[in-house]
Amino acid sequence: MEITAESAFELSDESSTTAEADVLGVWRLGPPAPSVAFTASRSTPPEVPLWRIDLPAEPLQAARRLAAGQARLLAASHRLADATARLDAVLDRSRPGVAFTTDTSIPGGSAEAELVGWLQRPREAGAAGPGSALAAFTNRLASYCGPSALVETQLQGEPVARSLLGLGGNVRTVCRPGLGPRGAGLHRDGVSLVVGSRAALLRVVACVTRGAVAISVRLALPGGPVLALPVAWRFVQRVLAEVDRGRTRSP
């Protein structure tokens, strides 16, 4: 059976532009890699997304690159938890059927300000909002979060190990005989990063849908939560994209 890898995600490095980065800021879209397939013969191959982790040959640099990915994932997870609370806070200040008034506690240009803006113009939220982007994202998610994922670790462009992951935990790995402890450790950490990313992406879905339901119920939006999805998605996306939040300080 042939397992194709039409979708490929590459571990972003520090120089990655945000435009090509995924919503977590950890991965970016990469070119398909037909040669990576576990080739055999079968007419209709299932699509399995490839998560490619190309690391420098220098051990310290490679470890740093993976650690940076883990740190970005952790930061995204924290921001995702924030997004839910912050969306709730905006909704808490709202009342069904009552227009939003200017709230001086919301900084201009913030995700909250934009959300309030959309909610004051619910018509535009559906018609001209980020619905297309959300549809594209959900399409991509369907492959991100499917039954399987293929993780490939490369050292200086050379594949050294691949793992096929099932959502239920099963793992099949094939690696080079002389992988060595360093390569083994890097691949294990890479698999961990992919597993964490898949879980985080699912949490994004849960967060956005939950937010959409909350918006539609709280504001009695006609058309139900689906029309609120783009707005909730945009809000979550903006919170996730925040590089550095203002933090309170110790006395």
């Binding site: 059976m1 397992i3 040669s35 990576v36 576990f38 080739t39 055999a40 924030d82 609370a85 709730d88 909704l91 808490d92 018509r123 559906g126 018609a127 619905g131 297309s132 959300l134 959900t138 399409n139 369907a142 492959s143 979060c145 039954p147 399987s148 190990a161 959502l167 239920g168 935990g169 099963n170 793992v171 099949r172 790995t173 094939v174 690696c175 080079r176 005989p177 002389g178 992988l179 060595g180 402890p181 390569g183 294990r188 597993v195 879980a199 699912l202 949490r203 879905v205 849960a206 959409a212 339901v213 539609s216 009695a220 006609p222 689906v226 029309l227 999805l229 309170t248 110790s250 006395p251």
Partner: protein, 643 residues
């Protein structure tokens, strides 16, 4: 001090020395091996640990722990309790009845008279009389949130520990009826009025000179927790009071008046006194502040060094506070020592009788409006609860508990992480002790760690109503039904129509307005299609995962040329071009099958480590992935079915 020695929190006020000297892991291990575990308790703890690793712990599935109408709420009095106490709590009981009995009357229960706790009763005996057995709390039998009313001589700590594994339990005990009435007024006031206290969380940790215990609890517990809250709760103000700032004067201000936060987390030594000492009942468990010059002085601790109940005046109360005290005896003291044994192996007496610490009683029953809950430790507190040998810092239990509090969970629900840790450690410890009993060479460090951590997790207790929530925490609008994999998949197979009345009606004319907008319609159609695809895809993946939940299979192959490897199918192994080197099948009941080649040599060491690492990751991630996936699908279905 010997490396890896077990260091205990707690200072003997009369000598200024540690209540217990640092002990070697061998000594602790020896005590652990002499411990007799109750078989019934052990069986249940294992069951809870097993359940918690596969799903979400708490009440039975389908019950939202944040909704008292679903969970129920009950109060348990000691047999023969003074009726005036029940009367004094009347305001709180009426308030909880209005919440818990909203859907079904019997989800509010008062266990008094014949149904009260009887002297000497075990948890199983008590529950059996109420028609409940082991297993998750079923609010239609016994409510999930249970408030014990009475001191530990009337309702023992051991009953609270065991009941807490299955239910969310708090305890209230005061010396006067008036204090019960004050507490009831405080809780009702904080839950029905706005404005108190501010959205502020404070973290207070001493670093007494020459004292490794507080150095560790400050740097490895309090600082990381404060950072976590800062990072995750942008709408909260987080303040830390560390080392030199952690003075008695500062703590006094935090525990009354305008400087009182909504949440206070302290990590200090707790004061201890010899059995029967005149100050023991009043000052044991008081919080030793930075004012103390450290153990090297080896002199009696001055009352100016610690904060006790007597230091809190009547004028400024800690209204609405939830306070967490990581300190020995911070919540109370049992009569018999859980740790030290005399030469003949008998437990020594810590106090003439068990008691609840005076400081939390003062905080909860303050005349100017008190705290709504105090979490503290009964007996001594150990560093193993946040530091694990060779693994370093382990604050997930504390962090998860705080996260739930900030998410609006009642404190009893947030506290479940400690109960799960207790169940896990008890289960692991008993297995390790069984192995030793059957001849395995004991690993002293491991046994000591497991035993002390087990006692530590068991000893944490809630004082106050377990249904109170952090003031200012998020109030969620999530559906009350908590999705689980099986529910989600069932819903996917047969989506239920949603009654129109379930959704608030739109403003007049608005729906027509929207329907006429082609852009809206187009966007909506695209979204619906994309969401349906996503729900089906993730749902199918979940379905497959759930079907295979009973076994995890990890296989590791080698191949000289990765590009030529063939794959039989996603659920099977690799075919031509790959040679199987290790295969592990781990079933849910713990049975493991391991296949490795006979000639596994040093060259395969790295491969074997990779295999073991991936197996460990798979075990750790499986439940989380399935749960998260189920939550995502549930959200998608919610969004779609309201169409």
């Amino acid at each position: 001090m010997a490396r890896d020695a077990v260091v205990f929190n707690g200072i003997d006020a009369t000598t200024g020395a540690y209540l217990l000297p640092p002990m070697s892991p061998e000594a602790v291990s020896q005590i652990a091996r002499g411990q007799v575990l109750d078989p019934a308790d052990l069986k249940e703890l294992r069951w809870w640990h097993h359940r918690a690793t596969e799903a979400v712990f708490g009440p039975k599935e389908g019950v939202d722990p944040r909704n008292l109408a679903e969970t129920g709420w009950g109060v348990v009095f000691a047999h023969g309790a003074d009726p005036a106490v029940r009367e004094a709590l009347g305001e709180l009981l009426d308030h909880r009845r209005s919440e818990a009995a909203r859907v079904r009357q019997h989800r509010y229960r008062e266990f008094v008279g014949d149904n009260a706790y009887r002297p000497g009763e075990s948890k199983q005996q008590f529950l059996a009389r109420q028609g409940a057995g082991p297993g998750p709390a079923d609010p239609d039998n016994v409510p999930y949130y249970l408030l014990l009313v009475g001191g530990p001589e009337k309702i023992p700590y051991s009953f609270q520990y065991q009941l807490d594994v299955q239910y969310a339990v708090g305890r209230l005990h005061f010396d006067t009826v008036e204090e019960y009435a004050r507490y009831a007024r405080t809780v009702v006031a904080t839950e029905t009025r706005d404005g108190v206290p501010a959205r502020r969380a404070d973290f207070f940790a001493t670093r007494n000179p020459g004292d490794p215990a507080t150095a560790l609890s400050s740097s490895e517990l309090v600082v990381p927790l404060a950072e976590q809250v800062r990072g995750e709760r942008a709408d909260w103000t987080v303040q830390t009071h560390l080392g030199e700032e952690a003075t008695k004067e500062r703590l006094t201000r935090l525990l009354g008046g305008r400087d009182t936060p909504a949440l206070l987390f302290t990590a200090t030594h707790g004061m201890g006194f010899p059995n029967g000492h005149p100050r023991q009942a009043r000052h044991q468990g008081a919080l030793l502040c930075q004012d103390w010059p450290g153990p090297d002085r080896q002199q009696a601790v001055n009352e100016q060094h610690y904060l006790c109940a007597d230091d809190l005046g009547d004028t400024a109360g800690p209204l609405g506070l939830i306070s967490v005290h990581f300190a020995c005896f911070g919540a109370g003291t049992p009569r018999w020592d859980d740790f030290a044994h005399d030469g003949s192996g008998r437990r020594t007496e810590l106090a003439p009788h068990a008691f609840v610490a005076a400081l939390p009683k003062r905080l909860l029953g303050h005349p100017s409006g008190g705290a709504i809950a105090v979490i503290g430790h009964v007996e001594r507190a150990w560093g193993y609860s946040f530091l694990w040998p060779q693994a370093g810092r382990q604050t997930a239990v504390y962090g998860s508990c705080l996260a739930r509090l900030f998410d609006g969970h009642p404190i009893g629900s947030a506290f479940e992480y400690f109960n799960e840790r207790y169940a896990e450690l008890s289960s692991d410890l008993s297995t390790a002790l069984e192995d030793v009993e059957f001849g395995k060479q004991p690993d002293h460090l491991e046994l000591a760690a497991m035993w002390t951590a087990n006692n530590d997790a068991r000893g944490f207790a809630i004082l106050g109503d377990p249904a109170v929530r952090l003031v200012g925490a998020a109030h969620r609008t999530e559906p009350s039904h908590r999705p689980v994999a099986t529910d989600v998949l069932a819903a996917r197979a047969a989506p239920e129509p949603v009654a129109e009345a379930a959704t608030p009606g739109p403003p007049e004319g608005a729906e027509l307005d929207f329907a006429l907008l082609d852009g809206v319609r187009h966007t909506r159609e695209r979204l619906v299609s994309a969401l349906q695809d996503l729900a089906e895809n993730v749902g199918a993946a979940l379905e497959r995962a759930v079907d295979n939940l009973t076994v995890i299979e990890v296989a590791t192959y080698v191949s000289d040329d990765l590009s030529t490897v063939t794959h039989e199918s996603v659920g099977k192994g690799f075919g031509a071009g790959a040679e199987l080197r290790a295969l592990t099948r781990l079933s849910i009941d713990g049975d493991a099958q391991l296949v490795v080649p006979r000639d596994l040599g040093e060259a395969d060491e790295a491969l074997w480590r990779l295999h073991a690492g991936l197996l460990e990751q798979a075990r750790a991630a499986r439940a989380e992935l399935v749960k998260t996936g189920a939550s995502a699908v549930a959200g998608l279905l919610d969004a779609l079915k309201v169409l």
